[in-house]
Amino acid sequence: MSQILGLAILFLLLNLVAGLWRVARGPTGADRMLAALLFGSTTVAVLLIMAEWMAMPALRSVALLFVMLASIVTIAFFGLPTGDDER
């Protein structure tokens, strides 16, 4: 079982590496922000699996904090002007 959980974590982390391409590429600020949110939800899943894998229940609290506070950055992002973000 431990092997399977480890493989799932590795798989999700590789997913994150692929998602980085969207942060780098854009083209709009909204795309980059979207990619960051996908990062957030994948990290939450990784933390939850790690809580089981490493037998550290406290990691579920870390996942809870991330998922609870994920929308705050988006609210701040909403206030940015749109348009040319290559500066």
Binding site: I9, L10, M33, M50, L59, I72, G79, E86
Partner: protein
């Protein structure tokens, strides 16, 4: 155990690449978003190092405060000077490569030396771990912060207060229009706040109470409270005020006051300075610290000496 090595390698390599990209990217927004991502990877790295207390702090501060803080700073720069918001020097300094190489050599030397050093048989950590059972605290981090090294913690509270005073001294107060980004009528945001704010108070209280026997504590709890405050400031429910009332003044200082009052007051009973008399004192000081930390971080975010509720 190949899998765990691969996971750790991915995290370590990811952190280095992200850190380089954050400081070298020319597009400011991309740097900010990569910094948010860096915070996520950092929390995972702390987790792999078996430091859930630090992962909690990273989650609360990174997701709740710093990401939004940088977005707001960038927004303010764009408002002040829409044409050239960030005057970044073009091209890199001639010293960059030599300095980087020297730093790499230094880190490599320290790392290789550390490999040869035998781990000491008697460390302060072991003494602290042996004494921990006598304190009645299950979480060694809280034990060290509040009992064994509490002078450091006390001074950290003082530093936080001085940081707030310093920020107030050098920057003009933010106008209420600059602090909020979402009009009060925006759909869904009200519903989000109705869940997020009560939940942040609940979770902060949980982290505070759990902090004595499992990961958590005043710093994490205060950061979660501050995150709730940041959400309220961003959505115009809390506005920057001009004059701090007695509640605000007491709020930012209560952590320091409670710590000093108990730490010094104990001397009247013939004890040594800062020897806390029991678990109740730990709870009391941590609660006061949580309030001060949460309020101070929220005030630093708002860039104002006080916060007032929306009228009407």
């Amino acid at each position: 155990m190949v899998i765990s090595v691969l996971i750790d390698f991915l995290l370590a390599a990811g952190m280095v690449v992200l850190a380089l990209q954050v400081v070298s990217d020319k597009a400011v927004l991309r740097s900010i978003i990569l910094f948010v991502v860096f915070g996520l990877v950092m929390a995972l790295a702390w987790t792999r190092l078996h430091a859930p207390d630090l992962a909690l702090a990273e989650a609360a501060i990174g997701a709740g405060v710093t990401g939004a803080l940088m977005m707001m700073a960038w927004r303010r720069l764009l408002i002040i000077n829409p044409e050239r918001p960030a005057d970044t020097p073009l091209g890199r300094s001639r010293l960059a490569v030599p300095v980087a190489l020297l730093s790499a050599v230094l880190v490599a030397t320290i790392g290789l030396t550390a490999l040869d050093v035998e781990s000491p048989t008697h460390t302060a950590g072991q003494v602290a771990a042996e004494e921990m059972t006598a304190t009645g605290l299950g979480n060694p981090v809280t034990g060290v912060l509040l009992l064994f090294r509490n002078l450091d913690t006390l001074l950290e509270m003082a530093v936080l207060l001085i940081a707030l005073l310093g920020a107030r001294a050098i920057s003009p107060p933010a106008s209420p229009e600059e602090a909020a980004v979402v009009e009060t009528g925006t759909p869904l945001v009200g519903a989000l706040l109705a869940i997020l704010v009560p939940l942040s108070i609940l979770i902060a209280t949980h982290l505070l109470l759990a902090g004595t026997h499992e990961p958590g504590g005043a710093f994490q709890a205060g950061a979660v409270l501050a995150a709730g405050g940041v959400a309220l400031i961003l959505s115009a429910r809390l506005k920057p005020g001009e004059r701090p009332g007695i509640v605000m003044q007491l709020g930012v200082t209560v952590g320091l006051i409670a710590f000093v009052a108990i730490g010094v007051g104990i001397m009247a009973l013939g004890e040594t300075l800062l020897v806390l008399p029991g678990t109740w004192a730990v709870y009391l000081i941590e609660t006061a610290m949580m309030v001060s930390i949460g309020l101070t971080l929220a005030l630093l975010f708002a860039g104002a000496p006080a916060l007032v509720g929306r009228r009407g």
